[in-house]
Amino acid sequence: MMPMVRFENVTKRFGATVVLDAFDFEAARGEKVVLIGPSGSGKSTLLRMLMTLERIDAGMVMIDGEALWYVRDGADVEPVTQAHLHHMRAKVGMVFQHFNLFPHMTALQNVANAPRHVLGKPKAEAEALAEMLLRKVGLGDKLSSYPARLSGGQQQRVAIARAMAMEPKVMLFDEVTSALDPELVGEVLDVMRALSVERDLTMLIVTHQMGVARALADRVCFFEKGAIVEQGPPEQVIDDPVHARTQSFLRAVRLT
């Protein structure tokens, strides 16, 4: 079957820093992949490239069988049109570590705004959708609260509802529980676990918390210096890692 997400020979640099070098990666439709690895290894960059927040320097990124950037001669990356970006971004949604909720909108408006203005849904329909999603993440009583009035866990649940309202095929989560107080991690994790039963939704999850990895992953990838060192089901990679680097990383994580 055609993979939902595919990196082929992808290179990404920031000036002299090479983040990814001839990187290959695949995620199947509906697969829940958790990426773990040391700081600076390029996990966020990987997600941000899929969200078109970063460009690639060479190679090919495919989403749902379509190239994210046009590539000529295998090396030159051509500028893509705004229309193509718009088409591709519709397939992908992202939840950020620091929520990035719109502070000037209520929870309901945060979720309803893009369906209304980007998908062109009528106001009533967009708001009904937003209300339904906010109820689903347990925030039915916070519809008219502004983000500043919500706890971190509540803000992150709004952010998840906001991304889901656009009905993406791929959802990207970049350390979405890392900025939360420990007692708030559970409520966000519950929402993500509920999402993970949706069979067709592909999820790429970056985290430092092994509990999150265990709860959600079909497959865990240990990522270092822009390459996947070890991967497999969570029981194997987390509890019984083969590679020495994975072992020392996990020891360090457990200590914190």
């Binding site: 519709a90 950020f96 719109f102 000037h104 909108m105 209520t106 009035r149 656009m166």
Partner: protein, 219 residues
């Protein structure tokens, strides 16, 4: 104080001119602030360079020099503007150069994550600007434009030096005829102060309306 009452018609007429100059110059300044502020943030050099020249030129030369230039020098190039137009243009252009910084700073104060969230939700660049960036920037701009309008009000007094009969002009005329100057000048200062209070009060109301939800104290 008797003298103020005696000349009330004259002084009120002056207030009228002061308000007209202030409002028109504020309109020019806001337009120029946005035009040059946005142009300076543009990716295109053709927009950036003229905007930078405009800002540096009008911030670097004195407002009074600009005013005199429009009033005394421009006619010798065959362009004779009425005094009101000179005043409005000079004050508006000069303060627009300062307002340019306000617009630029406010746009930059919106965190990058907001634009990234807009991209992730597939907003077009124009939608991202209109729906996400501008409303947040406006909250930052409101009090700063309030201060700019007070600067414009104060600057409007300079039109008295190019024969426009504003409040300052009338006060000066009365002083030249009468010896009792304290009452007239005190009154004029208080009138300017009261107008400034109205301006800052208005700016505060607008800021509060725009901050709904953003700070913890507002509804």
């Amino acid at each position: 104080m008797q003298i103020v009452w005696e000349y009330r018609q004259l002084l009120l007429g002056g207030v009228r001119i002061t308000l007209i100059v202030t409002v028109l110059a504020a309109v020019v300044a806001v337009l120029m602030s946005f035009a040059s502020g946005l142009a300076r943030e543009s990716r295109h050099r053709i927009l950036r360079v003229p905007a930078i020249i405009y800002v540096e030129l009008f911030r670097g030369t004195s407002l009074l020099a600009q005013l005199f230039w429009l009033f005394f020098v421009l006619p010798s190039f065959g362009i004779e503007l009425p005094a009101l137009a000179c005043g409005v243009l000079a004050i508006g252009l000069c303060n627009g150069a300062y307002g340019s910084e306000i617009v630029r700073g406010a746009l930059r104060s919106v965190p990058r994550g907001q634009r990234e969230a807009a991209i992730a939700l597939n907003y077009s660049p124009a939608q991202s600007f209109r729906l996400i960036v501008l409303p947040q920037a406006a909250r930052v701009m409101a009090p700063l434009f309030g201060s700019l309008f007070i600067e414009i009000l104060k600057a409007s007094s300079l039109v008295s030096l190019i024969t426009l009969p504003d409040l300052t002009f009338q006060a000066k005329n009365i002083i030249l005829v009468h010896l009792n100057t304290t009452a007239v000048l005190s009154t004029v200062l208080v009138v300017y102060f009261v107008i400034a209070l109205f301006i800052s009060g208005g700016a505060q109301r607008i800021e509060r309306a725009l901050s709904r939800g953003v700070d913890h104290t507002a509804g």
